[in-house]
Amino acid sequence: MSTLTDRYVWGVLRAVPETQRADLEPEIRALIADAVEARTAGGATEPDDAVERSVLTELGDPEALAARYTDRRLYLIGPRYYLAWKRFLLTILPIIVPLSVISVMGAKAIGGESSIGEIVGNGVWVGFMVTTQLAFWFTVAFVLIERQDLSLEDAGGWTPDRLPAVPVPGRPSIVELALSVAGLVFAAGFIVWQQVAAPIIIGGQSYPIFDPALWSFWLPWFLAVVALELVFTGVTYVAARWTWPFAVVNAVLALAFGVPAVWLITTGQLWNPAAADALKAAGFDGAIAPAGTIIAITIVVITAWDSVDGFVRAWRTSRSVSAGRA
């Protein structure tokens, strides 16, 4: 029958490399026996198994003892790499997660066969999966680095250059930057994609969504506005503060996109007439007008909000600057 000591010794030995076991076993047995003997020699007032029990309790968790014998780390990521791990995660997650959520939701929306609920649900699910997967694999990588004693000086080392910039009121965060860039790239991509892929397929014939005649002026105009928006987003981010001229440029760009878009939709010029005829022939004509109305209202709301938001930011920045001077 195995005693508590036998079980304790095995508890230590199984956690040390096989090569050290033969050496360590008699040592640990002797230590326990000595401790038990010393306690009973002073006039045994306790039964033997109670002494054994208290000796083993004092020695503590056998795995912890084994870890001390073998210099094994009892943590996943120690102080040496913890900050590098945290910085990596906090930099990567806010960029990757919104980008993947937006692209998946965008792809679903363009696919056209999903309801709003399905699209949102898909986005939430992808956001959750990307977050957990990234966090998990990054952590695994760092746990391995911690155990390999690899040098991570460039990533983990700290120099004064790594000091964070003091946040400036009105400066977009990296998340906002990623979101706007993703949104703009998506918009431009959609304009080109709907022409190239011609996603409306009726009776074996495929049609672009927008009237191809608009390539003579309006579609390139939208692409140009999107390109300017991208440049402007970069400029505001680098400038790190939102000024009144920025607010004006922001509003002009928003209106340059929103006003023609709404006008083209409400006057029915935006949609590809060939596709509309085919839809009508297929009995889907009832769907075009409501869809157009919803899109037009959305564009009006976004344009108005975007323009006003620019002025609010400029006002906040100017207020905090003057408060700083006072």
């Binding site: 230590l31 010393a38 003892l65």
Partner: protein, 113 residues
């Protein structure tokens, strides 16, 4: 946090590291694990069994201690003894200890040097 907690935290910081030196000095006479633990506790060093035993083994692999199994008694025991390298280490650590002691005394007595 009450004073006793702060005190024991400070003592722990102060005593960390003295156990190595104490072990080296004690093991000028050969000794085995449990006896060493007992002796250290008598002398007022606060040390846990599960810290001391791995420490002895580490000092042995580092060549600061030598060991041999004594089988003449009822039960075989591993006896540790300080090695020549261990003596060098002990001398250096002792010199450091003396310097620290002198510095602390000077600070305490208000000598500005």
């Amino acid at each position: 946090m009450d004073f006793d907690e702060i005190l024991s935290g400070g003592q722990q910081e102060l005593r960390r590291g003295t156990v190595v030196l104490a072990c080296l000095l004690l093991l000028r006479e050969p000794g085995y694990g449990y006896a060493l633990l007992d002796r250290l506790r008598e002398l007022g060093f606060v040390v846990d069994a599960n810290t001391l035993y791995p420490l002895l083994r580490r000092l042995e692999t580092q060549g600061m201690l030598a060991s041999e199994w004594n089988t003449t008694e009822a039960r075989p025991r591993k006896f540790y003894r300080i090695s020549p390298d261990g003596e060098r280490l002990a001398a250096e650590l002792l010199a450091d200890w003396t310097r620290l002691d002198a510095s602390i005394r000077r600070l305490h007595q208000g000598d500005p040097r």
